[in-house]
Amino acid sequence: MKDWKLLLEASDLGIEEPRKEQLALALASLEAAFRPLAEALPVETEPAFTVAAPREEAP
């Protein structure tokens, strides 16, 4: 797990205590839920939204 408190300190968001602690807890909780999902992703899965190829003009 990431050290979210340290990452918040290093960010340029200027977050003071005690909000830093609260945000770190929220981010850690989200990471704990999200990490296993991301780790199970098949490598070939593309994002739901991809860049569309430009349409070829008919010659």
């Binding site: 979210w4 839920a33 899965t45 593309e46």
Partner: protein, 462 residues
């Protein structure tokens, strides 16, 4: 009275647009101190337009059921020359020089916009307890939240101030206020209604839809606002169907999914009882109830949160240093979003593709899925935690539990009033259908509404 009933009265010359709009404006001003449902009331514009709509009808030009009907739009829809605040100090003096596509289409259909409804700050929350423009109150109980983020729209429709009010829904923001205020709330299929001219909360989860007093009113509104718009890249070219269901439409061929897992867990027992009653009513109307296991909704909610946090932070990144312009809850969400790694955001969009595929398999088994809209009725203003089944839950996370994931999977969804709890507060049932199954969804909801009779429920506190 519904839009359909008002439209019939106009054509029977029992009333006209000027009278309906005058009554609407009078009610808005009378109840504004109690409900705070509006940020801006457009008295003069609405009266002028009502006169014009009456003249058109008198000359034989009929634009359809919304012609001359007083409506409202959430204050995220740009209105040319009328300020559009998004419930935020950042936009408190923002006067757009365009109309949102939805506003254009409502006006083409003859609707009269009476004002801009209140909302949760930046449409980013579920209480509409706005630190800058004041809290929106629930017409059923003024000490309760109206839900959010389209709380003003829910409150205004439930209180009878307007016949329809537009909302936006990124993770339940139409359906939650509909559930808490006892109105119908429709989140159409992704791409069905143009997002052009709406101040965005995010890029891939935002949807526009109506809150109304009846399913058929939601359907006729969808007919007016749906369709391709080249100014919105996500706008679909799928043809617009006839959405307004017939009276007494049968449910004989409907396969109605009733979830075995997730949607009836962590639910107030009174809410569960009411929603299960909807299933029984559907069965009596001829629907085939099919017990189904739904995909992992907790996982879909999680990836929905990652997407929303990151996209909302991107939308508002340039304003993040102006901390005094934000309420504490919204600022905390934006700061969380600014910390989401790019790889996590992209992986959430990859997981989204799998979630859509999982649900597509479910749509092979059922036509609609029935769930509660919210696990509880409206919480009290200022309440941050809810106790349920012996556990404490965060109000925001609990209230979005059944609705957030629907925005991820692009499906249409509708909240339908299905009863009152023992405290006299409305309960909402949610129906989902496959993407672009909006017509099936509305037909099922209308049949259930006819049988349940809950659209006649009116808040007594007013």
């Amino acid at each position: 009275m519904t839009v359909q009933e008002a439209a019939a009265q106009i054509r029977a010359r029992k009333t006209n647009s000027r009278e309906l709009v005058a009554e609407s404006l009078q009610s808005i001003h009378r109840l504004q101190p109690r409900l705070n449902a509006f940020i801006t009331v457009m008295d003069e514009q609405a009266q002028r337009r009502a006169e014009a709509m009456d003249r058109e009808l008198e000359s034989g030009y009929d634009r359809g059921p919304l012609h001359g009907i007083p409506v409202a739009v959430k204050d995220v829809f740009c209105t040319r020359g009328v300020r559009t605040t998004c419930g935020s100090l950042l936009f408190k003096d923002h006067i757009p020089d365009i109309d949102a596509a939805v506003v254009e289409r409502l006006e083409q259909a003859g609707a009269v916009i009476t004002g801009k409804t209140s909302l949760h700050e930046l449409a980013y929350g579920i209480t509409s307890n706005n630190p800058h423009f004041g809290a929106v109150h629930n017409p059923w109980a003024p000490d309760r939240v109206a839900g959010g983020s389209s709380g003003g729209s829910g409150s205004a429709v439930a209180a009878g101030l307007v016949f329809m009010a537009m909302g936006s829904d990124t993770g339940g923001s139409i359906r939650i206020p509909a559930s808490f205020c006892g109105t119908v709330g429709l989140k159409p299929t992704t791409g069905r209604v143009s997002r052009y001219g709406v101040l965005p909360l995010d890029f891939t989860l935002d949807h526009m839809g109506p809150l109304t007093r009846s399913v058929r009113d939601a359907a006729l509104t969808l007919e007016a606002i749906a369709g391709h718009d080249p100014r919105d890249d996500s706008s679909s070219r799928v043809p617009v169907a006839a959405y307004v269901p017939a009276q007494q439409a049968p449910l004989n061929s409907l396969r109605l999914g009733v979830p075995e897992n997730f949607y009836f867990e962590r639910v107030d027992p009174e809410v569960e009882r009411s929603v299960r009653n909807v299933a029984e009513v559907a069965a009596r109307l001829g629907a085939r109830l099919i017990s189904v296991r739904v995909p992992d909704i907790d996982a879909i909610n999680t990836l929905g949160r990652v997407i929303l946090l990151a996209e909302a932070a991107a939308v508002l990144h340039n304003h993040l240093k102006k901390k005094d312009r934000f309420g504490t809850d919204v600022l905390a969400l934006l700061e969380q979003g600014a910390m989401i790694p790019a790889a996590d955001y992209i992986n959430a969009q990859r997981l989204r593709r799998l979630a859509v595929a999982d649900f597509n398999r479910l749509w092979d088994q059922v036509d609609c899925l029935l769930t509660p809209t919210t696990p509880t009725t409206a919480p009290r203003l200022g309440q941050e935690r809810i106790r349920l089944e012996g556990e404490e839950f965060d109000v925001r996370l609990l209230s979005t539990r059944f609705v957030r994931g629907v925005n991820v999977i692009t499906a249409p969804a509708l909240s339908l009033p299905c009863g009152l709890d023992s405290g006299g507060l409305p309960i909402g049932a949610q129906l989902l259908a496959r993407p672009f199954g909006d017509a099936v969804l509305l037909q099922a909801a209308a049949a259930l509404e006819d049988a349940l009779g809950c659209h006649d429920m009116v808040p007594q506190s007013l």
